[in-house]
């Protein structure tokens, strides 16, 4: 019902915004969807080549040495996995959470963030080599009750990540089915045919919409729980339990929080690019960026708060392990990544977003979002690289400050290749799933009006429940 194209009433999404109707949404999106431009091909070609170089670098890394005893040189690889999991893995959460709260301003962002579930396919591949790098559990602390327990920790980690990826893809497909059905009727050629085979059953009956809504809510809840669990497991298995004596109960939660923060950052940056390259300007009003910016500000403050909670406890406790952990991960060996992490994850977004003029713009929240992504990148480096580099993970105390490990050329190419690979998958997926959620934007048009009240005009938003 809600995406029926017979609703031609022109409405505005903001007081000064252009008049829109639901037919325009379908037309714009399908035109963009079927029109493969030269720029798109160029970007794909560039990303593809960088990705190939990354693969070659990875092969050289394998030739250098692979296995538990050689794990130190895989630190940056492990950090890259964490970065992919934190950013792309968390991104669909934006769509899930804002759908729960029934916000209207989320609508243009939903699919942009959900589409990152496709990157999960890449993340899980990236994870497979890591499974051979963890030292045995004997003699060290771990989340797992016993080291004899079947498949701990690697297979559990693997299936958790896999579950997350599958759940994310299911969420993406379910959410996109109505849009795919619309698009399959608006184009010809193999892609339209493919979409038709996928979504031919969708007619948009009331019952179908009902199942669709319930399915999205349930899958969203699963995704949320899985994500928090996966972040916790990965963080403990690949950072904390590799450092003897390090007991930091807030760190998994801190990583999960960083994930939510970067999810917003990633969505903002992607939407910004979309707004400037695609034809969707009218459907993505500034107000949506503005609303996001407030959440991003709150999350950046929370980021600093979680960090301080860990810092003050360790600083105050002053046991040898605590002092060595602080020195290794923050104040001596990895001081530079830590400072960059702090600046980009907290200071810059905070200083930018505390001003309403900056929040109430498109570029301001986008810059803060980009900054948060850079910050998370350095966070994974300062945590995952030293953890994998510690020689003896057994025992109950970290006896010395660990020296820093700088990336070599191979590491840099592997990281670039990883980023390019993730972007490549995202761009390719956007040719199967439309990047603007047609049904959600159309639904939003139903509930948005600009009306006069006495001597001025205001936006009126309907709240159906």
């Amino acid at each position: 019902m809600t995406t029926a194209d017979n609703n031609f009433d022109r409405v505005q999404l903001s007081v000064d915004g252009p008049e829109l109707n639901s037919r325009m949404v379908t037309e714009q999106v399908s035109r963009d969807f079927f029109d493969v431009t030269r720029n798109y091909k160029l970007v794909i070609a560039v990303l593809g080549s960088v990705f190939l170089i990354g693969i070659i670098a990875l092969i050289f890394r394998f030739l250098d040495g692979f296995g538990v005893s050689e794990r130190a040189q895989w630190g940056y690889y492990s950090a890259m996995f964490a970065f992919l999991l934190i950013t792309a893995g968390s991104a669909p959460l934006v769509a899930v959470a804002l759908r729960w709260t029934k916000n209207h301003w989320r609508r243009p962002f939903s699919r942009v963030s959900e589409l990152y579930a496709a990157v999960g396919l890449f993340t899980i591949l990236w994870f497979i080599p890591l499974m051979a790098l963890l030292p045995p559990l004997e003699g060290r602390r771990s989340l797992w009750v016993s080291s004899e327990f079947i498949g701990v920790p690697l297979w559990w980690d693997f299936f958790a990540v896999l579950g997350l990826v599958v759940c994310g893809l299911a969420l993406l497909i379910l959410s996109a089915i109505p849009d795919m059905a619309v698009l399959s009727r608006h184009g010809n050629g193999p892609r339209a045919k493919f979409l038709r085979s996928f979504s031919g059953f969708w007619r948009g009956t009331q019952a179908q919409w009902n199942y669709h809504r319930i399915g999205l809510t349930a899958l969203g809840a699963f995704y949320f729980m899985l994500l928090v669990m996966v972040q916790t497991m990965i963080n403990v298995d690949f950072v904390m339990s590799l450092v003897p004596g390090w007991k930091d109960s807030i760190m998994p939660a801190h990583q999960a929080l960083t994930g939510i923060q970067t999810a917003i950052g990633l969505t903002l940056v992607t939407t910004f690019i979309l707004r400037h390259t695609g034809r969707y300007k009218d459907f993505i009003p500034m107000e949506s960026f503005w609303s996001f910016s407030k959440i991003l500000l709150a999350l950046s403050l929370l980021w600093a708060y979680f960090w301080f909670a860990a810092l003050i406890t360790f600083w105050y406790g002053r046991t040898p392990t605590e002092q060595n952990v602080l020195k290794t991960f923050m104040f001596e060996s990895y001081r530079i990544p830590f400072l960059l992490n702090f600046f980009f994850s907290f200071l810059i977004p905070f200083l930018l977003l505390m001003w309403n003029q900056v929040r109430k713009s498109i570029i301001g929240p986008t810059l803060a979002g980009a900054s948060v992504l850079i910050g998370a990148f350095f966070m994974t480096i300062r945590l995952y690289v030293p953890a994998l580099g510690i020689e003896d993970p057994t025992g109950h105390a970290l006896k010395a400050v660990q020296p820093a490990m700088l990336p070599d050329v191979l590491d840099i190419f592997i990281i670039l290749g990883g980023l390019a690979g993730a972007a490549l998958i995202y761009l390719l997926a956007s040719r199967i799933f439309p990047i603007l959620s047609i049904w959600e934007v159309k639904e939003g048009l139903l509930y948005s009006r600009v009306r006069p009240l006495l001597r001025s005009k205001f936006l009126v938003l309907g709240k159906p429940e």
Partner: protein
């Protein structure tokens, strides 16, 4: 989500000021009873100051017992106010309107009560001055700001002062309404308090900005207060189960859990007492119930993490403390009661719409949460101390004395009594906010259905 009918301004004034101008017997009976309980508690506290803290159940090594538990509990309740009103104001949730002031006032009174607890706990309250305030010029002994026990007053006082000012600023327009309805000496008093408010567009504009700006400023303070309270415990290395980095957010989210539940309980109570059927509606407690589900689940995650990392280290003494908390009587029973009343009983119930929309069930579940959260603090504080490892010669257990119990019960009566007295003098539901909500209500036609809508100001 708006189900209420449009009410005239005169009706709103009459209904919401009823508490100020009418004197029902039921109201004064409750106040008198509460006053009596408070009086007994004051007597008990006086007795304790006179005889020394030997009359309590405190001992070596359990130096902290009911008083400190109660301190943390009331600090927790005080987190409802700002959490609810600030977050809901910032997110412009329409259903906040009747709830904000009650929540803020609950903050103030529970915070005052919380401050009282360490005062009483010291046994010689007047000596607190030396430890907290930097004024001892003659002897040159200054408070040690490296101690969490000094961070505490700085945070609590900031929070208390800010909340009082916040409530006052939001009260000014309503005080003008009361001023216009009253006469004689009352009119003079309200005229002074309302600062000469007339309701020009400029004044309203600043009132609106004040709500947003002060909310944004108080929120970071609110988070810091309970964090610092948690650091009273978390900084200590010597007590097992305390030195955990997650303590700060764990305490904060726990505080929000108990605080929001407390607000729901109080709102339903006020609805019954003052007959606010048209203002505190089912949709409001429904929305609060949904919010509570989210908060409770988040709290449970932090609880699980705290617990998980307690046993993660696999160190003998820590494991022993955890097993004491969970499996040995009487702590084990209290632990079971805590986890059931604070999570496994209320949360599954809240999933049902009928429960969320039932005043009776919401009262039962929210009170259950607060019983559980009180026990939670007790379970955190006492077993850890009873089995302290480092620098301890003796292990011992703890049971509260009648004096402590009397004082604790007195604090509950005191908060409720102050709340009711406040409602006698000031309107507890913001009149102007309710009226504004009625102006901003609109409708959108979608097909055959009329969907309730809201006018957005930005």
């Amino acid at each position: 989500m708006q189900e209420g009918k449009i009410l005239g301004y005169k009706t709103i004034n009459r209904d919401l000021l009823r508490g100020l101008f009418e004197n029902p017997v039921k109201y004064w009976a409750i106040v008198m009873f509460l006053g009596l309980v408070v009086f007994i508690a004051v007597f008990a506290a006086g007795f304790m100051v006179n005889r020394g803290i030997g009359v309590t159940g405190l001992n070596r090594p359990v130096f902290w017992g009911f008083f400190i538990t109660n301190f943390v509990f009331w600090i927790g309740i005080s987190h409802a106010g700002v959490m609810l009103s600030a977050i809901l104001r910032l997110s412009k949730a329409e259903w906040r309107r009747p709830a904000t002031r009650a929540a803020e006032v609950l903050t103030i009174f529970s915070l005052m009560t919380a401050v009282l607890m360490p005062f009483i706990h010291t046994g010689r309250p007047w000596r607190l001055m030396y430890w907290v305030f930097p004024y001892d010029f003659s002897r040159g002994i200054w408070p040690d700001i490296r101690s969490p026990l000094v961070w505490d007053p700085s945070a609590v006082n900031t929070y208390l002062l800010s909340s009082i000012l916040f409530v006052f600023i939001a009260l000014v327009p309503d005080l003008a309404v009361v001023r216009d309805r009253s006469s004689g000496i009352r009119r003079i008093a309200y005229s002074v308090l309302s600062l000469g408010w007339r309701g020009t567009p400029r004044q309203w504009k600043l009132q609106a900005i004040a709500g947003i700006l002060l909310s944004a400023l108080i929120l970071p303070v609110f988070v810091s207060v309970h964090s610092i309270v948690s650091w009273d415990f978390g900084m200590a290395v010597s007590v097992n189960s305390w030195h955990s980095t997650i303590f700060a957010p764990y305490f904060v989210i726990g505080a929000v859990h108990s605080g929001v539940s407390g607000v729901v309980t109080v709102m339903i109570f006020m609805r019954w007492l003052f007959g606010w059927e048209d203002y505190v509606r089912r949709e409001h407690i429904d929305a609060l119930g949904r919010l509570l589900i989210v908060i409770a689940v988040a709290w449970f995650y932090f609880f699980a993490m705290e617990f998980l990392f307690g046993i993660y280290g696999q160190e003998g003494d820590e494991l022993a403390t955890r097993s004491l908390q969970m499996f040995s009587a009487p702590w084990g029973w209290l632990f079971l009661a805590f986890i059931i009343t604070s999570f496994f009983f209320p949360v599954p119930l809240w999933l049902f719409r009928n429960v969320r929309r039932s005043f009776l069930w919401m009262t039962i579940t929210t009170i259950s949460v607060n019983i559980g959260m009180w026990l939670e603090r007790f379970i955190i504080i006492v077993p850890g101390l009873a089995r302290k490892q480092v620098f301890t010669q003796s292990w011992y257990t703890y049971a509260p004395s009648p004096i402590e119990i009397m004082i604790i019960i007195g604090t509950f009566a005191m908060v409720l009594m102050l709340f009711l007295l406040f409602a006698k003098i000031f309107p507890l539901i913001p009149l102007f906010d309710i009226k504004e909500g009625q102006i901003l209500t609109d409708e959108i036609k979608v097909g055959r259905r009329k969907v309730p809508a809201v006018i957005r100001e930005d």
